[in-house]
């Protein structure tokens, strides 16, 4: 199944309209610090230079979207331990040609956590570019990640997908003990204070 989907995506031609859509979302982002402002600049330039920026076949890097999920009381975040990368991460994934990055983030959230958010902020709140190390036949490349925030319904139960080893709710304090990627720590710090 995964193979045929990958093939299907490879066969897909880049759609400039979708790229424009993604570009408009990133351009409207109000960067809160110089670091994110620089990433925003780079992502915009990347979209202008690579017409296939939304496809994972674009090798220098490609657009991804992710979602930080808070619980209903906004005291904890749900993270998953990514099988391939062996890291605690927020939910997210490849744009796969879709320029509506909020929709991508929401799709990935549902696929990877089984949770239908009761609330979803329609604008991104964080941007980040990070390097994905080489894995099997895949060379090292960059993920240009556009990040959204959502809250889970009360008493939401998650369902683990095959991409993760486990899923867990963390308070801000617990999360900071995990030694997370600095940009993820930044998001959690921002969301939970």
């Amino acid at each position: 199944m995964a193979e045929t989907r990958a093939e299907e995506l490879r066969a897909k031609a880049p759609d400039p309209r979708e790229v424009q859509r993604a570009r408009a979302i990133v351009a409207a982002f109000n960067a809160p610090d110089p670091e994110q402002a620089a990433d925003q600049e780079r992502i915009l330039r990347f979209l202008d230079d690579h017409q296939d920026a939304l496809l994972r076949t674009c090798l220098p890097g490609h657009l991804t979207a992710s979602c930080l999920l808070l619980d209903a009381s906004r005291e904890r975040v749900l993270l998953h331990h990514h099988r391939k990368l062996d890291l605690w991460l927020q939910f997210g994934g490849h744009a796969d040609g879709e320029g509506d990055l909020a929709s991508v983030a929401r799709r990935e959230l549902l696929e990877e956590s089984g949770i239908n958010p009761s609330e979803f902020a329609s604008e991104p709140f964080d941007l980040d570019i990070h390097l994905i190390p080489a894995h099997k036949s895949e060379p090292a490349h960059e993920h240009l990640d556009v990040r959204y925030m959502a809250t889970a319904p009360q008493k939401a139960t998650f369902v683990r997908s095959e991409e993760s080893n486990s899923l867990e709710w963390f308070t801000g304090q617990e999360a900071s003990a995990l030694g997370l990627d600095p940009s993820l720590a930044r998001m959690i710090e921002f969301a939970l204070g």
Partner: protein, 568 residues
């Protein structure tokens, strides 16, 4: 900006509550995949217009969201306990009940709430201790529901809805209702039921312009999510805040009303490639038209008449090729087309119209409007000679070749293909002074490639309508009468039809409730006012509205004694 301030804004954005979630939805009809993996979230209170070609799967998606169609792959479910209500194209009613009985069923749960409210109020006066506390809590809840669902004035709302939608009298059995009457009963039922998610498939069909205006206001203020399919673009512009386009099995949301959608769409088409240059041009022309001020539009409609006269002197073959659909033109018209003098007609002692006189000029496009059942169809039948007037006379010019496009008269064969139905198997069709390849003719009605070979039985309602239109417009004529041509047509086809009519060098008489359509094509208006008077107006629908407004009448509002009745 501080972190706290940014967070506050984000949380405000998140207060958009999701009421319905569709995840990787696939739908097959036999081997054909109609919906190819749709993922969408519907927000609370969003007013959404579904748009797409006939057969794209709009009704299918509505049926799936409504819960009526469960044969699909993927997820489609309401979040929490959201209720849905669906007006289908052919709604089901309780056949053994009267009109009033059917509507009572819809408000049954509200009546129950109301009864319990008064019951609890009585119980509270006698209860003590924990019991009293429990009742107080329930009372608070009930009071909240009474407010939210508008139960306090349920009866007057009921009367108002019945009146505004022209629901037939209470005591009539629904068995004997016409298709249009059944839909009005079902729509009234649904609005009173007040579901959280309201799904409407072509709600304006069979409604006159006054009912449409009322429904627009009602839906725009509707306390819930509304998803609707309609070909009425004014309706879309006035009601929706989102457009959802279904194309080639995928769904794509656009924020804004119909005009905003057109703008975004045009930008996208321009960005994509020159392949769609034609589509882009058609979109651009419609936009340009929308953006004009009403005054400029009127000026244009006067100019339009002049242009037709100039155009008529050109040879039809020389017309711009950028028009996608060309209605086969007939021989040149003389100066006289249709002349109506002192016409009178009535039934059973009831006069439909009297002293009716007007003329349709060469190349004029006459829009005929008015409520249902006031004599519009009767007038058409008199013009084509199917009925005789009680007094007065209709004269057709000696050069007139008339074609009456009547949906009920043309018969289609379900077991034959789209192509067969339209062409009767002819490979060439008469066109202008020569012939046209049948396939090219059929393609002009937006039937591409394999669609031409599709059996009619596999076609959606709107596609059938296009087949009908193509078949009926096949015969070259110079005076065409169209009776409700826009019902169930998709917007792409409508847009093309409008352009075709604008470029058509003959005269037309068009009976329709579609105000947008009228504004784009009509050069004159004949309005049945509903009280036996019929007004002939030089100019389009908008200028007719202005003229009425200057007289102190707003035609989007029902006037007279009905109004008081609704106060109840």
């Amino acid at each position: 900006m501080t972190s706290a301030a940014r967070l506050a804004i984000l949380f405000a954005l998140m207060s958009d509550r999701i009421v319905f979630q569709v995840q990787d939805l696939h739908k097959f009809y036999d081997q054909r995949e109609v919906l190819k993996g749709i993922t969408l979230s519907f927000l609370e209170g969003a007013k959404i217009g579904l748009i797409g070609l006939n057969g794209a799967g709009k009704s299918t998606l509505m049926r799936i969201i409504s819960g009526q169609d469960k044969a699909f792959e993927g997820t489609a479910k309401p979040v929490g306990d959201q209720t849905t209500g669906y007006l289908s194209q052919e709604p089901e009613l309780y056949e053994d009940k009267t009109v009033a009985g059917n509507i009572e069923v819809a408000v049954g749960h509200l009546r129950k709430l109301e009864a319990r409210y008064f019951e609890v109020m009585n119980l509270m006066s006698e209860a003590e201790g924990a019991e009293a506390e429990k009742l107080t809590l329930e009372y608070d809840h009930l009071q909240h529901d009474m407010d939210a669902k508008g139960i306090w004035d349920l009866d007057s709302r009921l009367e108002q809805a019945k009146h505004a939608l022209q629901v037939p009298p209470d005591d009539r059995s629904v068995k004997n209702l016409s298709g249009g009457e059944r839909r009005r009963v079902a729509l009234c039922q649904l609005l009173l039921e007040h579901p959280d998610i309201l799904l409407l498939d072509e709600p304006t069909n069979h409604l006159d312009s006054e009912s449409i205006a009322w429904l627009e206001g009602h839906l725009a203020d509707y306390d819930g999510t509304v998803i609707l399919v309609t070909h009425d673009r004014y309706f879309l512009d006035n009601v929706v805040g989102w457009m959802l386009e279904i194309e080639r099995g995928k769904a794509k949301p656009y924020e804004g009303n119909y005009t905003a959608y057109l703008e975004q769409k045009q930008r996208e088409e321009a960005a994509s490639s020159s392949q769609n240059a034609r589509t882009e041009k058609v979109l651009a022309r419609e936009l340009e038209w929308i953006r004009r001020t009403p005054a400029a539009r009127q000026k244009q409609s006067k100019a339009r008449l002049k242009r037709y006269q100039e155009m008529a002197s050109e040879r039809a073959e020389d017309q711009a090729e950028s028009v996608d659909l060309r209605i086969p033109p007939g021989p040149r018209l003389g100066d006289r087309v249709v002349e109506v003098r002192d016409l009178k007609k009535g039934y059973d002692g009831c006069t439909l119209f009297e002293g009716l006189s007007f003329e349709v000029p060469p190349q004029g496009k006459l829009g005929v409007i008015g409520p249902n059942g006031v004599g519009k169809s009767t007038l058409m039948k008199i013009i084509i000679g199917q009925e005789t007037p009680d007094a007065g006379k209709v004269t057709l010019g000696s050069t007139v070749q008339l074609s009456f496009v009547d949906q009920s008269r043309t018969v289609l064969q379900d077991d034959q293909s789209v192509f067969q139905n339209i062409t009767d198997g002819n490979l060439l069709l008469p066109f202008a002074s020569g012939t046209i390849d049948s396939r090219a003719y059929v393609a002009r009605f937006n039937f591409k490639g394999e669609d031409q070979q599709r059996a009619l039985s596999e076609c959606s309602g709107g596609m059938r309508n296009r087949v009908l239109l193509a078949k009926m417009l096949r015969e070259p004529a110079n005076l065409v009468i169209l009776d409700e041509p826009t019902n169930d047509l998709d917007l792409d086809t409508l847009r093309v039809l409008e352009e075709a009519i604008q470029h058509y060098p003959g005269s037309m008489i068009i009976v329709t409730h579609d105000r947008y359509f009228l504004n784009r094509v009509a050069t004159h208006i004949l309005s049945f006012e509903g009280d036996g008077t019929v007004v002939f107006h030089h100019g389009d629908y908008e200028s007719y509205k202005d003229w009425k407004r200057n007289k102190g009448e707003d035609i989007d509002k029902r006037s007279g004694p009905h109004r008081q009745f609704t106060r109840g």
